[in-house]
């Protein structure tokens, strides 16, 4: 099952390179996505299928990420077909191949219980997503791709060094070196603390760069701003979730070594700093796609903050991974539609979207309310759990700052979003024939409905899964 999830999308990517028709090729994405989701459901039903060998297996934490990524890709793939049919003037050969290869590589990262293999897979996702950012081939997109590659590669190289430090901390503690997660968890108490802490810092900086935590987030607004909307959704919900999983692995090992307090302090600090940075840059932001990028920085901060606080907040963070990914799906896909209808992403020109694209604009507005934690959407539940966990465990300062930053973000993001949605279309903006179609409007709508349903009712299996993941992380 693991091999199917990993190799099938890679095979589809190969097929995309040889299929000549620009119109038919995008349909390969839904084919890969439907099969991936179907296999994921089969795996969920039968625990026997969750272990392939000692390197490739699922645990409750990676299962959450697998469901998130599979669900995100499922809907995004249909949107991609709609989007690429509007862009038939340029070849989508590498776009389809890269997107499909991404699905295979992120699946490998999710299944890996060998941290070296996981690194290889995550680095792979960086490389295959670079051509996606470059799809528009404008000067700006070259710049964004260059920054993404350079900053991302250096970050991920530091993560590799951190992985090696981690393996070496076992040797320095007199144990055998290994990068297998379960072996690391057993040897953790004997590891050399100095090497282990250095490893944690390097991995936090390295995978934090991939997640886009401040101050390593500099590539993010450029990449998300210039990439097509569907790529933004995949980056903000897929790539970041994979890197978050890698950080969770490291957090688990450090906790097993008895240094959880050290890790928590750093995570709480990074989380709050990311939220603060995002809040500052969201005020007066006139590019609505960059606003979404900063919102992603903010939510990555919320995730690591939740992990740093632990307990109920950790539960909230694990639920938030899923909620963030699906809500970002609504936001990026509807923002992509609005961008196409205006050929601009500056709020000076993009106004009155409700008149031009009633459905997409409404989804954009609803997505904003969801991501900022308004009830009854799912992110309200996850963010409230984090807040509850913070105050319940005596993190009063962190909890208050969390609330304050959420408020600033709500106001800052709200101004930009309302400017886009409300009012009249400025007269100087040229007329557009672009209208919502089923393929481009249904996926963001479905994401929003998912987030809404999960906000009202969390199925018992999901609740149990997250609870199991929390106890798994607590060893």
């Amino acid at each position: 099952m693991a091999l199917l999830l990993i190799l099938f999308p890679l095979g589809i990517a190969g097929l995309a390179l040889v299929i000549p028709s620009n119109r038919l090729r995008p349909w390969l994405l839904p084919v890969a996505a439907v099969l991936h989701t179907a296999v994921t459901l089969l795996v969920l039903q039968n625990p026997d299928r969750q272990t392939y060998n000692t390197w490739l297996m699922l645990d409750p934490v990676s299962t959450i990420i697998l469901i998130t990524v599979s669900g995100l890709f499922f809907l995004a793939s249909f949107y991609a077909v709609g989007y690429l049919h509007h862009r038939l003037e340029r070849s989508n050969r590498f776009f389809v191949a890269s997107l499909s290869a991404f699905l295979g590589l992120i699946s490998l990262a999710i299944w890996s219980h060998h941290l070296g293999l996981m690194w290889v897979a995550i680095e792979g996702t960086t490389l295959v997503t670079a051509p996606l950012i470059y799809f528009n081939k404008s000067k700006q997109s070259i710049e964004a791709t260059w920054k993404y590659l350079l900053v991302g590669s250096v970050g991920i190289a530091l993560a590799l060094l951190g992985t090696f430090f981690l393996a070496y901390s076992a040797i320095a503690g007199g144990k055998e070196a290994s990068l297998d997660l379960f072996t690391l968890l057993t040897t953790a108490p004997d590891m050399s603390k100095l090497w282990l802490k250095s490893a944690f810092i390097l991995l936090l900086v390295g995978y934090g760069t991939k997640m886009g935590l401040a101050p390593m987030h500099t590539w993010k607004p450029d990449a998300y701003g210039e990439a097509p909307g569907v790529v933004g959704a995949i980056l903000a919900g897929g790539v970041t979730s994979g890197a978050f999983l890698a950080l969770l692995r490291m957090y688990q090992i450090v906790s097993a070594a008895g240094e959880g307090a050290f890790a928590s302090r750093l995570l709480v600090f990074m989380g709050l700093f990311s939220m603060l940075t995002a809040a500052i840059f969201m005020i007066n932001q006139r590019d609505f796609k960059r606003t979404l990028a900063y919102s992603s920085v903010e939510h990555m901060g919320i995730l690591v903050l939740g992990v740093g606080i632990g307990g109920l907040a950790l539960w909230g963070a694990l639920f938030h991974v899923m909620m963030n990914a699906f809500t970002k799906g609504t936001l990026f896909l509807s923002a992509g539609n609005i961008h196409r209808a205006y050929k601009d992403k500056n709020t000076d020109a993009v106004q009155g979207a409700y008149r031009r694209l009633p459905l997409s604009a409404s989804l954009f507005l609803a997505g904003f309310l969801a991501i900022t934690g308004s009830p009854p959407f799912g992110p309200f539940i996850s963010e409230f759990s984090i807040l509850n966990g913070a105050f319940g465990s005596g993190h009063f300062v962190a909890g208050s700052l969390f609330l304050l930053f959420l408020l600033v973000v709500f106001i800052g993001m709200g101004i930009t979003v309302l400017k886009v949605v409300q009012g009249r279309v400025p007269p100087e903006v040229e007329h557009s024939e672009y209208r919502d179609s089923f393929l481009t409007a249904f996926p963001p709508l479905a994401f929003l409905l998912t987030v809404l349903i999960l906000g009202v009712y969390i199925p018992p299996f999901l609740r149990d899964l997250i609870t199991q993941a929390v106890s798994f992380l607590g060893n």
């Binding site: 060998h114 070296g116 293999l117 690194w119 290889v120 680095e123 792979g124 490389l127 670079a130 051509p131 470059y134 081939k137 000067k139 700006q140 070259i142 710049e143 964004a144 791709t145 260059w146 920054k147 590659l149 350079l150 590669s153 250096v154 190289a157 590799l160 060094l161 090696f164 430090f165 393996a167 070496y168 040797i171 320095a172 055998e176 070196a177 290994s178 990068l179 607004p221 450029d222 701003g225 210039e226 840059f281």
Partner: protein, 213 residues
């Protein structure tokens, strides 16, 4: 055997400083290639008995780091018709001095705090860290896109040196995966540099400055 190893580690450190002090991009490509050859040989000398996976990984490392990647970089350099790094952020001599100081400090600090470490590790770890730092200096003080890629390659070489300590923890499949990632990243980057050159008529990354707040 240990004497040869010591000489090779010193050579790696010297090559770092040569890379920092050289303005011709082609020379830096050759320096990085020479480092690649040494990195491939070291694991063969570290063990008295050679196993098949070790030979495969050495052969793969040498062919990638010393032949394929330098060839790709040389081609990219010829395509963009530039020869040297003009006006780096920090001059060539100062950056060499900074690199040398960083190397000295790394070795001193390591000798002071990690007296317990024995054998190869006492040399491998500080060499690795100094090489990572040299790569980082190249990466941050040069403006030409290709020079920055070379900085990344030196940094990557430094990390590779550290992996020599962990042979039992890194199976062949994973090691091949790491080399494959390196190959693909240089491949993607050389395409992008070519596009940068066409779109901006320059490889100066300071021209990549339209996207900001």
């Amino acid at each position: 055997m240990n004497d040869i190893l010591n000489v090779l580690f010193v050579l790696i450190l010297t090559l770092n400083l040569f890379a920092l002090g050289n303005g011709r991009i082609l020379s830096i490509i050759r320096i990085v290639a020479a480092q690649g050859v040494i990195l491939g040989i070291i694991p063969l000398l570290m063990h008295s008995e050679l196993s098949i996976p070790e030979i495969i990984s050495s052969a793969a490392a040498i062919s990638l780091k010393a032949i394929i990647i330098p060839a790709m970089m040389t081609k990219a350099l010829r395509d963009v018709k530039i020869k040297r790094e003009v006006e780096p952020l920090v001059g060539l001599l100062p950056s060499t001095i900074i690199g040398a100081l960083a190397t000295a400090i790394t070795f001193l600090a390591f000798a002071r705090w990690n007296t317990a470490v024995e054998g190869h590790a006492s040399l491998i770890i500080p060499t690795s860290i100094s090489t990572v730092i040299a790569g980082f200096i190249l990466l941050t003080t040069r403006f030409k896109a290709l020079s920055q890629v070379l900085g990344y390659l030196v940094l990557e070489n430094g990390i590779y040196i550290f992996s020599l300590l962990l042979i039992e923890a890194i199976p062949l499949v994973v090691e091949m995966g790491m080399l494959l990632d390196l190959f693909v990243s240089v491949f993607v980057v050389s395409i992008i540099t070519n596009h940068i050159n066409r779109a901006f008529s320059s490889l100066d990354t300071r021209k990549l400055a339209t996207l900001k707040e």
